[in-house]
Amino acid sequence: MNMQRREALKAGGGLGLFGLLAAAGLITPSQARAEWNKSAFDAKTIEETLKALGATGAQSSTDIQITAPDIAENGAVVPVGVVSALAGVEVIALLIEKNPNPLAASFTLPAGTEASVQTRVKMGQTSDVIAVVKVGGKFIMTKKEIKVTLGGCGG
């Protein structure tokens, strides 16, 4: 595996997963997408993250819903979904305000993919979770507070 990995890294160079897949003939080059957005994932505030996503000034919108429980039994695994009935959603990004780096994940949706994704994230403490959506070239957002509780025997 290590050998393979080194080879892959060498071959991949900085192409990212999609470059690699394209190189391996798994997907066509036209599907290869942008590299991992380091500046967005490294950002430490919501503002910086929005800037790195090109979403500065995103307007609050009721056209997006965050599906998640109000209270999480444990912060290591918090289920969060983002849904929108809007047509033509291109990007969904999931931010957790009080995490050291707010951006948890971002999804790029080709035409035909529904604006409905669900994943699970780590939350260090009770925080607002923010969904940022790019639709028709514009960014909109919504938020929901999720309480993280301590549990079990306590130790």
Partner: protein, 103 residues
């Protein structure tokens, strides 16, 4: 080698619903081991899902995605027996691709 994913893909009323579980530590880089040393970050950074070779989702993850990541999404189209493949790559360059038939 990384352990296999568990992928479920089911088509109903013209929509295919995909649920994926990945086997990965998703190490944040902020945890200390028992001797007090920081454990280096090790996490999936990119993911792609393809239906019959056409991309239906691309995702980028940070360290805040939970260990053994879960992902669910839906796309239009897809029929029983079609191929649905998911690939991921992590920050160390490890990668994994698994494929199932839609049912």
């Amino acid at each position: 080698m990384a352990d296999p994913m568990k992928i479920r893909a089911s088509a109903k009323d013209g929509i295919t619903e995909v649920k994926v579980l990945m086997s990965h530590e998703m190490e944040t880089g902020q945890r200390k081991d028992s001797s007090g040393n920081l454990v280096p970050a090790h996490f999936i950074t990119e993911l792609s899902a393809e239906h019959n070779g056409k991309q239906v989702l691309a995702a980028q993850f940070g360290t805040a995605v939970s260990k053994n990541p879960y992902l669910a999404f839906k796309f239009k189209g897809g029929a029983k027996g079609d191929k649905l493949a998911v690939s991921w790559m992590d920050n160390k360059g490890e990668k994994r691709t698994d494929e199932v038939a839609i049912n």
